[in-house]
């Protein structure tokens, strides 16, 4: 049985002009331990698909199943990482990380111990008592990831987590995420608009069409060896995946300009 099943998920929004069907028909089967990237043009509803998987948003039609059970609301087995990190500015780093455990009624000593372990895991040792306002964007996102991992979810839902970071930080955060993921290979749904990022991280890339009524236009398996390193991207295979994804997202014409200059 697959870990996550999207069964003809439709998502619509009420606007002043009436109801808009953002996502038309999203169906996918995701196996346990798979790292899935969802890419698509902005406004295609890829973040909405993620919200539906977390139960934050109810599909207009269709269903999301986790381990065969329909998703009805946020649940224990899943944790979300947000694009803006969404930290609580009045709390210290460790207290932010412990938030999920606190809501589950875990005792203070135990949740702080777990939180400190995770702060260390994401490379923020020594910043446990800092406030979010004292951290850089990349550090804040590390806190967001640690907070999600603290509840030890089976599924990690990541909504453009590195979208607000500069290119360099973004790449090193990606490698960091892979390092952490290799520990226990949780199932990951990773929404991004970065093609390179998707290929570098994922086992499979789901490509969505532009909205409204967007759907999956291609399901590409990324057959690159793990553990992956930065060197992967200079290889020939990477370039092939890259141009294929560019073609799907931007069309043949634009794809040529996004490819690196040939020597």
């Amino acid at each position: 049985m697959s870990h996550i099943t999207f069964d003809s998920v439709k998502i619509s929004y009420k606007t002043s002009d009436g109801e808009v069907e953002a996502v038309g028909d999203f169906s996918a089967e995701i196996q346990k331990g798979e790292f899935i990237a969802i890419v698509g043009p902005s406004g295609c509803g890829k973040s909405s698909v993620l919200s539906a998987a977390d139960g934050l948003l109810k599909p207009a039609a269709g269903n999301v199943y986790v381990s065969g059970e329909p998703v009805t609301g946020p649940g224990h087995g899943r944790a979300m990482v947000f694009q803006d990190a969404s930290l609580m500015p009045w709390r210290s780093v460790e207290s932010n990380v412990a938030f999920g455990l606190e809501l589950r009624g875990v005792g203070k000593a135990e949740r702080l111990r777990t939180a400190r372990e995770l702060v260390k895991l994401v490379g923020l040792e020594g910043r446990e008592r800092s406030r979010p306002s004292q951290l850089s964007g990349g550090m804040r996102q590390r806190v967001g990831i640690a907070r999600a991992l603290a509840v030890d979810p089976e599924i990690l839902l990541m909504d453009e987590p590195f979208g607000a970071l500069d290119a360099q930080t973004r790449e090193s955060m990606g490698m960091e995420l892979l390092r952490i993921w290799e520990n226990d290979r949780k199932t990951v749904l990773f929404v991004t608009h970065g093609i390179d990022e998707a290929i570098l991280l994922a086992d499979r890339v789901l490509v969505m069409s532009a909205g409204p009524r967007s759907r999956i236009v291609e399901d590409i398996t990324i057959d690159l060896p793990r553990p992956r390193t930065r060197e992967v991207r200079v290889g020939r295979e990477f370039q092939v995946y890259r141009s294929r994804l560019s073609n799907l997202l931007f069309g043949e014409q634009d794809a040529r300009t996004t490819e690196p200059a040939t020597r």
Binding site: S86, P89, W90, R131
Partner: protein, 269 residues
């Protein structure tokens, strides 16, 4: 390991000693203008340049202050005013903070109370004071009531605004991590509304002090306002100025105390 306390954003890397020196200099320069005015005032009064029976003079004011204290007149009147203010203010805070937060959080509660509170906020409630006197008499009760009404509106409106300013993304995060309505309120909404709420408490002090004094001016048996009114009608200027300064000083002290709390507790702002 403790991390150092955060300095004001954009402040250069100064040691804390240099920082306190800087603030001492700031206080001293602030005093210059006050000293200059006092000296000019004294000189023009004692040289006959202005009529001291209207303007009084700093020395006369100091004398009047000493007399108010030694005669026991101040000790007789000040406690009443403080009592009226404190009870009215405390009631307004105890009722206003929860009510305001509830109004910010729950649309239905807001719809019920908002028109009433805004009406209260923009009405100069002192204009209604005669009615309060009709109901509760000329004593302390009517003054407590008017302070309560006046401060309540300020406290409620700020607490409500604080709640409404809660970042929707933070709430969404809490919801995603499984926080129910109650947990969302206590762990997200209430803490993030605190700075604005306390700012409301500070504004309320100013309003409350003005209200209690003016209400006493209107009529009463004891209190600072009653004294001001008595000295005013007998054209006795020096004690009048002492009392006005005293009221100002009180507002300043309570206000800066709250500001200090704001700064130390809400350092994340």
């Amino acid at each position: 390991m403790r991390t150092p306390k955060r300095k004001d954003a954009g402040a250069p890397l100064t040691t804390s000693r240099a920082g306190s020196q800087e603030s001492a200099v700031k206080v001293l320069t602030g005093c210059i203008s006050i000293v200059v005015v006092l000296v000019a005032w004294q000189v023009s009064a004692s040289s006959g340049l202005v009529d001291a029976s209207y303007t009084s003079s700093p020395l006369e004011i100091v004398k009047a202050a000493a007399e108010l204290v030694t005669s026991g007149e101040l000790a007789q009147n000040l406690p009443t005013t403080l009592f009226e203010f404190s009870i009215g203010y405390a009631l307004a805070v105890v009722i206003g903070v929860p009510l305001g937060m509830l109004m910010g959080w729950r649309l239905r509660v807001r719809q019920v109370f908002e028109p009433l509170l805004y009406a209260l906020y923009v009405t100069p409630s002192l204009a209604l004071f005669p009615i309060f006197v009709l109901v509760w008499g000329i004593g302390t009760t009517s003054k407590i009531a008017i302070v309560f009404v006046d401060v309540l509106a300020t406290v409620v409106i700020n607490a409500m605004a604080g709640v409404q300013e809660t970042d929707a993304r933070t709430l969404r995060m809490a919801h995603a991590f499984g926080a129910g309505q109650m947990a969302q309120f206590w762990k997200i909404i209430a803490p993030s509304a605190m700075p604005t709420t306390v700012a409301g408490l500070r504004l309320g002090v100013g309003r409350g002090v003005i209200t209690v004094i003016v209400a006493e001016l209107y009529g009463g048996v004891v209190g600072l306002g009653v004294m001001i009114s008595a000295y005013g009608s007998s054209f006795n200027v020096p004690p009048l100025i002492v009392l006005a300064l005293l009221a100002g000083l009180f507002g300043l002290i309570v206000g800066s105390l709250l500001r200090r709390i704001e700064r130390s507790v809400f350092r994340w702002e």
